[in-house]
């Protein structure tokens, strides 16, 4: 039982390049989330999904797109990377949303540097 798996673990991009971060969960969870973690700012929600085929914006969605074509996968895309998007990105999943009294399960993160 792998839980939540993120790929890649590290990546260096040049400004303007694009890339996709992949998150996969094997717990049959309905809800999936993408966060970014920056020093001194905790975790900020980028986008989330309440089920296959659905996505919604979080606190800091600009410059990112997401897709949830399969229940177990949640993709985060950067169309034109900017240095301000240098961060550690975490994916999480949960059986219910915040009000459902269930915990989130996190991957180990993708460390992304944009030069």
């Amino acid at each position: 039982n792998a839980g939540v798996t993120q790929t890649p673990k590290f990546r260096v991009l040049k400004t303007g390049q694009s890339m996709t971060l992949l998150c996969a969960q094997d717990m049959n969870h309905e809800y999936m989330y993408w966060y970014r973690q920056d020093p001194g700012m905790g975790l900020r929600l980028i986008h989330y999904s309440v089920g296959e085929g659905t996505t919604a914006k979080g606190e800091v969605p600009d410059g990112y797109n997401v897709s949830r074509l399969k229940k177990q996968n949640f993709l985060l895309g950067l169309e034109s990377a900017a240095p301000s998007q240098t961060s550690v990105y975490f994916c999480a999943s949960s059986q219910t949303g915040g009000a459902g009294n269930q915990p989130q399960h996190f991957g180990d993160g993708t460390r992304l540097s944009i030069l």
Binding site: A56, P103, Q104, F106
Partner: protein, 110 residues
């Protein structure tokens, strides 16, 4: 922003001592959760306390919740070097999102 705040930002104690960290938040909540993050790893869920609960225990962890003050505390008793990590609170209201605090960095000195 609905982000909570942990206090203190950093805490250093000797092994065997108790560690207390606090979380304050801004809106009414359904539940509050505490997570641990070891260096270079993802967050791991520790304990969840519902809005109608005042105290909850799990092993060496004790969490209290005061909804009138919009605050929670996490107590780790008899700390160990392995407890060295960052600790985050997260709140959830009547929606799909979780709102994380800025974290407390705990160092336990052997």
């Amino acid at each position: 922003s609905q982000q909570g705040e942990e206090d203190p930002q950093a805490l250093s104690i000797q092994e065997g001592e108790n560690a207390t960290m606090n979380c304050s938040y801004k809106t009414s909540i359904n539940n509050l959760q505490w997570y641990r993050q070891n260096s270079g790893r993802g967050l791991v869920h520790l304990i969840l306390i519902r809005s109608n609960e005042r105290e909850k225990h799990s092993g060496r962890l004790r969490v209290t919740l005061d909804t009138s003050k919009k605050s929670s505390s996490l107590l780790i008793t008899a700390s160990r070097a392995a407890d060295t990590a960052s600790y985050f609170c997260a709140t959830a209201s009547n929606g799909n999102q979780f709102y994380f605090g800025t974290g407390t960095s705990l160092t336990v000195i052997p």
